[in-house]
Point group: C2
Chain length 131, copies 2
């Protein structure tokens, strides 16, 4: 497995991180996500990290990078499913994940993105059709 | 990683399969999914297999099992993102995935489940709130 699948759901792109992220996988993910945001006109990126027991500075930096790129492309990044222990570690490491929003679970993260879509008045273009 | 994360999105549960499924992981997934269907009152299970280059008879059987259990619990199972080569192999293996619906991608699979929810008149209870 060298690529993490990205799913388009409404106006959001959804990524579930389940495996250890090596350099090449992380870089491929960043690239794939950037391309998909543009191609799909996505307004948000949901990254589920509920499977991760450890988030080190490498993954923290990757999340911040993805959020930075997504913001340039006018999309929000929401990290969901963070374990309490991971939150504690991130704070201890001094990683505040700049530009990254968080939500307790995928459903709330999706709601956050839908709200943003509704606020920007793009509802008709995206999401509304399928849901 | 011994458990595959299950995300609740509207009336559906979403699973992305990215790793090789050993017996224990597959059994844990079946169990977790069954519990989540009941707990969340889900009407559908979306299984994304776009990361899988090979689907052997073990995975085929697991998908059929999940679909069987889900049906007992009144939920549809939709497999999405199947690669053309995988479809060819499944047919060659004589695995017709009984009880499993398929859709080209997650978005269409989600639409399939939403339609089923709408038809059964349960729209107000589920999905409608967040989307």
């Amino acid at each position: 497995m060298d690529r993490i699948p990205i799913l388009k759901i409404g106006a959001a792109l959804l990524v579930t991180i389940q495996v250890d992220l090596h350099d090449s996988v992380a870089m491929a993910l960043e690239e794939d996500l950037s391309n998909m945001i543009v191609k799909a006109g996505a307004k948000g990126v949901l990254i589920d990290i509920s499977a991760l027991e450890i988030v080190d500075s490498f993954i923290g930096r990757m999340l911040a990078n993805i959020a930075g790129v997504a913001r340039m492309l006018d999309a929000d990044t929401v990290v969901v499913g963070m374990r309490p222990a991971v939150a504690i570690t991130l704070v201890e490491l001094g990683l505040s994940l700049p530009g990254v929003k968080t939500a307790l679970n995928a459903e709330r993260g999706m709601a956050l993105i839908q709200r943003r879509v509704a606020e920007s008045g793009l509802e008709a273009d995206h999401a509304a059709g399928e849901f």
